[in-house]
């Protein structure tokens, strides 16, 4: 492992260790931190950073960025909230559908500008951020409810505040753990049967043990009672959404041609072009995926806030999202990164956010602590990579 670390292939081990250190510190300062109720709360807080982080990874892999993702999320959230409530009373699926079409459409618009006019994505999406902020303010304020609209529609409300039953929580987590273990074992067995390099049995068992322990912990956390007056059990729906988005994106990146081509384009666009890959089509796809997933993040976000307000800070959100991806190990220069980086980075940011609030530190300390973790993560990554054989 030390050798892998020196090779710049340390994976997420340093940041996982960092996360454990943070958790231990907060637990010492506040005995509530590791309670199941707070951990569930922390995970729900992390959903917005994780989802927006996943959205950003799509573009970071190409060496591009979307600074508008935070307000694109806000816009999707606002559209959904307004259409299901207020005077419109749309069904939630039409409202959600239109919200996601809008966010995907804005992603496509940035894509067209960046690809068609060869403008830098940083500037295009910076303009996008300002424009979408204006649009969000305009449509929220035009409802005449004093700058904030709350949700009265059950489906949107329950994204975060609704839970699966404890039984379904168990079934879902057990099936996920079994499925992942099975696919690990099967891939490894079919490689071994063709005399290809395969993972040793012991390491395989360790990985599966890790999955089982992780799954068990999640069941325990979600299924313990976390209600103060009435009992609350089960996994919040929002966690399932994050799981499905993360799983689907990881699958596309690892198992399909478009995923492979995005890595290739991020690594060497000219080489990809000469290999016959329709580079611009895949770049546009990445912009649209960023928009789509930003929209999903927006729906979870408004559910968590139980409404939309004109003071939504999409600018800070998007920077947290980029920070989450980078803390997890994704490069800003393209070609290197994974969807799961957004998960681990998002959880780190939520941990700081949650823990600092518990030990009653204010926003100033939270910002400074996040800054230090971000700097620390990129420094460790860069140092590990210095002697490495991997170029980026």
């Amino acid at each position: 492992m030390l050798k892998r670390f020196r090779r710049g292939d340390s994976g997420m081990i340093p940041i996982v260790i960092g996360l454990i250190v943070l958790a231990a510190y907060f637990q010492i300062r506040s005995s509530v931190f590791l309670s199941t109720g707070n951990l569930t709360n922390l995970m729900v807080q992390a959903t917005i950073f994780v989802l927006l982080g996943i959205a950003e990874v799509w573009l970071l892999l190409l060496g591009e960025i979307d600074l508008s993702a935070g307000f694109n999320a806000g816009l999707a959230g606002a559209i959904a909230v307004i259409l299901v409530d207020q005077q419109f009373h749309w069904s939630w699926y039409f409202a959600v559908g239109l919200a996601l079409i809008a966010s995907t459409g804005f992603g496509a618009l940035w894509g067209f500008l960046v690809i068609g006019l060869r403008l830098p994505s940083f500037i295009v999406t910076l303009a996008g951020q300002l424009g979408l902020e204006g649009l969000v303010l305009w449509i929220v304020d035009s409802q005449g409810t004093g700058g904030s609209i709350s949700i009265h529609e059950p489906v949107l409300y329950n994204i975060v505040y609704g839970d699966f039953t404890p039984l379904f929580t168990i079934i879902f987590i057990v099936v996920t753990v079994l499925g992942l273990s099975f696919s690990l074992v099967r891939t490894n067995a079919s490689r071994a049967s063709r005399n290809l390099e395969s993972v040793p049995m012991l390491l395989m068992l360790l990985r599966i043990a890790g999955l089982v322990i992780g799954g068990g912990l999640l069941i325990w956390i979600f299924n313990s009672n976390r209600g103060k007056f009435t009992p609350i059990h089960g996994m919040p729906f929002a966690i399932l959404i994050v799981g499905v988005v993360l799983g689907a994106c990881t699958f596309i990146m690892n198992k399909t041609k478009p995923g492979r081509y995005l890595y290739a384009i991020g690594g060497n666009a000219e080489a990809a072009r000469r290999a016959g890959i329709a580079v611009n089509r895949y770049r546009l796809m990445a912009f649209m995926m960023t928009g789509l997933i930003s929209g999903i993040a927006g729906l979870v976000y408004v559910s968590n806030l139980n409404g939309i307000s004109d003071s939504i800070n999409g600018g800070t959100l998007v920077l947290y999202a980029v920070a989450a991806a980078v803390i997890g190990g994704t490069s800003l220069f393209g070609g290197r990164g994974k969807m799961v980086h957004a998960l681990i980075g998002g959880v780190v940011i939520a941990t700081i956010y949650n823990g600092m609030a518990l030990i009653q530190l204010g926003a100033p300390q939270q910002y400074i602590a996040t800054a230090l973790v971000l700097l620390g993560a990129v420094t460790i990554d860069s140092l590990a990579r210095r002697g490495s054989t991997i170029v980026k």
Binding site: A264, N268, V391, K392
Partner: protein
């Protein structure tokens, strides 16, 4: 032109259109690719003038010449980066029109440019199959790609890479060249064009690449290699083609040349020694 290149070869009338010295074509070898009277102009600049060149299968043809002589223009024409202004191209005796790189790839012409066009962040297998991945029910079939990559590298006697799952960014210059060439070969290429394959390499790396070129030609693949290094040329080439100011001034078997005459041809466009050697052969 009425006659096919084969007829030209039989009567040796292909020689001498632009007055090349010692461009004897041995009529026994079947010509994989024949260029006749190829001209390429960029506005007023004539980058190629009336080039006639024959490339036989299973042999290494070295294309030499000074900077600006038109070597790169010629290979870009053959590999379909641009179409010639005039002239004809024959592939296995049939006239062909190559307008795009895709046309060239279709015929079986693979060009490995100096920059190699590899993705450093992908591993060897992923680079070898880039743009033409094997799939199984729509998903990437990593195992079949890995097996085929291993086999191709073995066929080419490339033994220096530790694992085909190594990132290409971690390979040496010679290994990278080998991966780029292996990728060309795996696409069932009949003609592999190499642009300065040893330019940036050290001594042992160069030797690896030269061995690889020999292996290719022993597999029946035609190789057209651009090189500045006459040591390399004389150690691998079966044939030499010399360009000078946009014209192909000489081409023929390596035996018609020696180092001095090659240098003379490159710098002045003519050499009495080549004529003498050709006559004595």
């Amino acid at each position: 032109m009425e006659t096919t290149p084969e007829n030209d070869n039989l009567t040796s009338s292909a020689v001498g259109q632009s007055g090349p010295v010692g461009s004897g074509v041995d009529s026994s070898a079947p010509m994989l690719l024949s260029l006749r009277d190829i001209t390429k102009s960029f506005g007023a600049v004539q980058a190629l003038q009336h080039v006639d060149l024959d490339i036989p299968a299973g042999q290494v043809t070295a294309l030499i010449g000074d900077n600006g002589a038109g070597k790169s223009t010629l290979i870009k024409t053959v590999s379909g980066i641009w179409a010639p202004t005039s002239g004809s191209m024959y592939w296995q005796g049939q006239e062909v029109h190559v307008h795009t790189p895709r046309d060239a790839t279709h015929l079986g012409i693979a060009t490995v440019y100096q920059d190699l066009a590899l993705c450093d962040n992908l591993d060897i297998v992923q680079n070898m199959y880039l743009g033409r991945e094997d799939t199984k029910v729509g998903l990437l079939d990593e195992i079949s790609m890995e097996l085929a990559t291993t086999k191709t590298l073995k066929d080419l006697s490339v033994s220096t890479v530790k694992s085909v799952r190594q990132l290409v960014g971690s390979l040496s210059g010679g290994q990278r060249q080998a991966v780029a060439v292996a990728r060309a070969v795996m696409r069932e290429s009949k003609l592999v064009i190499l642009d300065e394959p040893t330019a940036a390499l050290g001594v042992s790396q160069t030797a690896q690449v030269l061995d690889l070129i020999k292996t290719l030609s022993s597999h029946g693949i035609a190789v057209l290699v651009i090189s500045h290094n006459l040591n390399d040329v004389f150690s691998v080439a079966d044939r030499i083609a010399v360009m000078y100011l946009g014209t192909l001034v000489s081409h023929g078997p390596i035996a018609n040349y020696d180092r001095n005459s090659a240098v003379e041809m490159i710098t002045t466009g003519k050499s009495d020694r080549v004529a003498a050697l050709a006559a004595s052969n």
